[in-house]
């Protein structure tokens, strides 16, 4: 028993305002000759009117904000340019995706928006989420070093602090270095993606550079995939730049060459 063309079935769509012009015309013609349909239409209109967008506000838990801020600190933004192909997708739900294929939005967003995904940052963001969410499970962040695990709480503090800021620079030879810092905490963390591992007898060293002086901020450990993040040792001061130099294994007390990465805070 199918009544696909039964005008009565257009009543909900009419009330919800989702009928096509042809359907609207068909339903209005039906309304004109059916008093019972008019009663029903009115009831449905009242139901639709109650479905206003103004749902009562609900206060989110505090940790949701921390999670979001942590994710945001490690997520690149879109340029204002409106020629990129995702504009239509933002404005209307195309529904083209198979619902079964829908993954976490963050993943989809990264796949769409980040031409060169900063994988390490994504991994770090996931780590932060885990820590901030209070659900630390050892070894969850595939590839995360033990140092990264140990430093995650500090990273979470930096990225979720109200004055957290970030700046990125390209790395010579391809890749990106991003500094995230909080002046209030006097802490910063460097993310690198696409940094070659140093020669066997060399090491990368981090520096806080202010004026002509440079203070060592630790050895930067880089994974074989060229990605890493690390919280810098020491205290960051306003106006400090962060630099990375190539040093003899074990590190130096003063930088011995031109930095390969410099980021101005």
């Amino acid at each position: 028993m199918t009544h696909d063309d039964d005008p009565e079935l257009l009543a909900p769509g009419y009330a919800l305002g989702s009928l096509t012009p042809a359907e609207t015309a068909a339903y209005e013609a039906f309304l004109a000759r059916s008093p019972s349909a008019r009663a029903e239409a009115e009831e449905f209109q009242r139901v639709a009117a109650a479905l206003t967008l103004d749902a009562p506000p609900v206060n989110p838990p505090a940790q949701l904000k921390a999670r979001i801020l942590a994710q945001v600190a490690a997520t690149p933004q879109l340029p204002a340019d409106s020629d990129t192909p995702l504009q239509p997708d933002e404005l209307a739900d195309s529904g083209a995706e198979d619902p079964a294929e829908l993954g976490p939005a963050a993943l989809r967003a990264r796949a769409r928006w980040s031409r060169r995904p900063i994988i390490v940052m994504a991994a770090a963001a996931a780590a932060i989420v885990l820590f901030v969410g209070g659900a630390l499970v050892g070894g969850v962040f595939g590839g995360g070093t033990s140092l990264e695990q140990a430093q995650s709480p500090t990273l979470a503090q930096i990225v979720s602090s109200p004055d957290s800021q970030r700046a990125s620079v390209p790395i010579a030879g391809g890749g990106t270095a991003t500094l995230v810092w909080s002046g209030e905490l006097g802490k910063s963390a460097l993310f690198v993606d696409g940094l070659d591992t140093p020669p066997a007898d060399k090491t990368y060293e981090l520096w806080y550079m202010r004026g002509d002086s440079a203070q060592s901020a630790g050895i930067l450990q880089v994974g074989r995939d060229g990605t890493s993040w690390q919280v810098l040792n020491g205290t960051m001061q306003g106006g400090d730049s962060v630099g990375v130099t190539v040093e003899p294994k074990g590190g130096s007390t003063t930088p011995s060459g031109t930095p390969i990465i410099v980021i101005q805070s």
Partner: protein
């Protein structure tokens, strides 16, 4: 439901201008502005998402997705085309609908492999009574719908989709869409106690 008086509207305009300004700063990577924007808008986003998605944990996840999208696409917000709050809620609505659609797809898959989700009559009655006491008629009513019904109503009303668009999106016959819409609206009418 939104009977605005003069002073309220003025207040709303000021709040709207404030959101515009914050979004403008967010577009330039200002994370402090993003935090302020979150404080001002998150309760409304979560409230709306919760109405559509119902499940609290999932609603919080959707809210997180919404704010990540706000962060990423803040530069695309054009104050000449509409209010910031509308822009944000539109995004929230779309993501909430995506989420129900995904759970509905999962439900359909489960059903196909023979896993039935039963809702006992008694539970239903108990829940209805409890929700009525809590108030929030519309939210209670929305909870009374099956996922399938809530999804088509959300797509039609909050998503503005036609029957054929919904049918295409869900991969179901247009007649099924109409029936679900009608069953859902009848149920809402009953639960809300609407009579003419």
């Amino acid at each position: 439901m939104t009977a605005g008086t003069g002073p309220e509207l003025e207040g709303a305009d000021a709040a709207s201008a404030q959101l515009d300004a914050l979004l403008h700063r967010v577009a330039r990577g200002d994370q402090a502005a993003f935090g302020d924007l979150y404080d001002l808008t998150a309760p409304r986003v979560l409230g709306m998402v919760l109405r559509l998605v119902i499940d609290r944990a999932q609603s919080e996840e959707v809210t997180q997705e919404v704010f990540l999208e706000i962060w990423q696409s803040a530069s695309r917000f054009d104050p000449n085309k509409g209010k910031a709050m509308t822009w944000i809620l539109t995004m929230a609505r779309r993501r909430a609908i995506d989420r129900i659609r995904a759970s509905q797809a999962a439900r359909d898959r489960d059903t196909r492999v023979g896993v039935r989700h039963f809702q006992g009559e008694y539970d239903d009655v108990a829940e209805t009574a409890e929700l009525r006491i809590e108030g929030g008629k519309v939210d209670a009513a929305m909870r009374e719908l099956s996922d399938a019904q809530r999804l088509v109503i959300s797509l039609a009303y909050y998503g503005g989709q036609s029957h054929s668009e919904i049918a295409d999106n869900l991969g179901v016959p247009i007649g099924t869409v109409k029936t679900r819409l009608r069953d859902g609206m009848i149920r809402l009418r009953t639960v809300m106690g609407v009579t003419s």
